[in-house]
Amino acid sequence: MTTIQDTQTAGSEYQPVDGLLLEVEDLFVEFHTPDGVATAINGVSFELRQGESLAILGESGSGKSVTAQAIMGILDMPPAVIPSGHIRYCGQDLLTMPEEQRRKTRGPEISMIFQDALSSLNPVFPVGWQIAEMFRVHRGLNKSDALEKAIGLMERVSIPAARERVKAYPHQFSGGMRQRIMIAMAIALDPAVLIADEPTTALDVTVQAQIMALLQELQEERHMGLILITHDLGVVADVADRIAVMYTGRLVETAEVHELYARPAHPYTKGLLDSIPRLDQKGQTLAAIGGLPPNLLRIPPGCPFNPRCHMARDVCRTDLPPLHEVTPGRFSACHYAEEVINA
């Protein structure tokens, strides 16, 4: 009996290279605005393997969403410009692919879910129709077969009474249900990579946990690579294998999840972890990272974090620290990474 894993890669013309699904190499993304050129992504590289979940963590403006959209190819190309870099999916560079070929990877190979499911679903079509659309457009199924598949998917993501509700409209569902519908749509064609851009930010805490559990389940079942974009450290702890922390369009740290939580290797990560309020801190002042992220139109020289870093020394203000391997598998872009780890 073929497993889902087998059917996913078997029929596809894209095969992972050494288990490597996605390889982002030296990616630069600029936005050309009337006020100047904003560098949203400033030389980012990372990898995603089959069955792995990578969390990309960062504040607003760190470039995490732009990274996701660049991978999907849904950026508005003016004003966005990708001056250099590679995004390789199963060895093939998506950026140099002809658009028609790239379009066919969206859905069957790489899929994405968004933060606000209400505005991300089309309000005038029934949810079943929207899920079934994946099958009608990409696999050429007829209406009733596609709808059957849609019902099956809705059941898989635990939407009660799926057969009756397949004709309902997005506004008739609760927030959590809508997000499940988005997930159903995204995994419909068994993609190898699923990108989730802040999927739980708009949801209640209890619903958040359910959705994250669902994502993890589906990922294991289908052996997908999962990229989870978030600013919330709490959400990420259970699901992610590795975390990449972004700041001002650059990766400042990548590590395996437990190591990162236990001993961060970058002052920014440390600051983020320290600022999570804990029950035993009652009565004390909340720790926060002072200052604001820099203006993307005018990034200061040296380490971009230096104005807010309590450890900043002279070299930090002049030399940009490269992302280097501190211990095997752990990368940090700080001149004093070892100090941070041992603090």
Partner: protein, 307 residues
């Protein structure tokens, strides 16, 4: 928002204006000032208002002075725009016609804003049964198309005051206002409904502020923006409506001077004397255009997405 806007807006500090007073009004005025269309329409409107109040600044000819021998004369033969069938100087009539139009436009707007505004605010603030009743009543008035309703109204008072410029204008304004207030009422009502649940309004109520104070200090300032836009554009519409009613013979009537009357008379002689049609049409169109452009410019200036 586009990605560019989202990225840039979150990290870019506005250029040097962090210390300035950034109230909505001053922001709007600033962008209004830069808009050439605003200035063009303001100038246009000022000219017409001036024409309405002081027509003698523009012409010394009496618009009711008929020189029959020269009737239907072309522009240039002693007059700027020629003469119409009855020998009136078209140029003078165009200038004097501004009075009727501006008067009706302004009066109607004042009436609709006061009546409609008052009812709308009451309706939105009180809610419940009062709101339901007032909304239904508004619906009924709203259901009758403006022109048709005005026709019925005026048909019942056909020759009352029509020949006196001021009273005739008042009559027409009344007819238009009776049917025009519901749209203003709806606007104010929805403004009030949007603002009422806000925390600062609840706080004011808890502190014992009287309803009229709450309305004045909190609700009205927020509703003023759409009100101005709609009132300005409606003004242009009312000018057009007055001309239409006079054209149909049911608004102002001779010997009062109105562009609508002139256009109506001019259509008869269209084949041979087109100039009789053109000049009043031009004046009318420019007057309406002026107000609509102004309303558009104000709307753009107040639109938060443009800032």
């Amino acid at each position: 928002m586009t990605e560019a806007a989202a990225v840039v807006s979150e990290t870019v500090a506005p250029n040097g204006s962090s210390d300035e007073n950034r109230s909505l009004a001053s922001d709007a005025w600033r962008s209004l000032r830069k808009n050439p269309i605003f200035w063009a329409s303001a100038v246009l409107i000022s000219i017409f208002v001036l024409m309405a109040i002081f027509p003698s600044l523009f012409t010394s000819t009496d618009p009711r002075e008929a020189v029959l021998e020269e009737s239907r004369s072309r522009p240039g033969d002693g007059t700027w725009f020629g003469r119409d069938i009855q020998g009136y100087d078209i140029y003078a009539r165009c200038i004097y016609g501004a009075r009727a139009s501006i008067l009706v436009g302004v009066l109607t707007t004042i009436l609709t804003v006061s009546i409609g505004g008052f009812i709308g605010v009451m309706s939105g603030y009180l809610g419940g049964a009062a709101d339901a009743v007032m909304s239904r009543v508004g619906d009924v008035f709203f259901a009758i198309p403006l022109l048709l309703g005005a026709i019925i109204f005026l048909v019942s008072l056909p020759d009352f005051f029509s020949s006196n410029a001021f009273l005739g204008a008042l009559k027409v304004s009344l007819a238009l206002a009776v049917l025009g207030w519901p749209s203003m009422a709806r606007l104010m009502r929805s403004s009030v409904i949007q603002v009422k649940p806000n925390d600062y309004v609840q706080a004011a109520r808890a502190l014992g502020a009287s309803p009229s104070r709450i309305v004045r200090s909190h609700i009205l300032p927020n509703s003023v923006a759409p009100l101005i836009v709609v009132a300005t554009i409606s003004l242009g519409g009312y000018i057009a409506a007055e001309a239409t009613l006079s054209f149909l013979g049911i608004g102002l009537q001779a010997p009062a001077v109105s562009w609508g009357i002139d256009i109506s008379a001019a259509l008869v002689g269209l084949r041979t004397t087109p100039h009789m049609l053109f000049f009043p049409s031009l004046f009318l169109s420019l007057a309406v255009l002026g107000f609509i452009l102004l309303g558009d410019a104000v709307r753009d200036a107040l639109d938060p997405k443009n800032r």
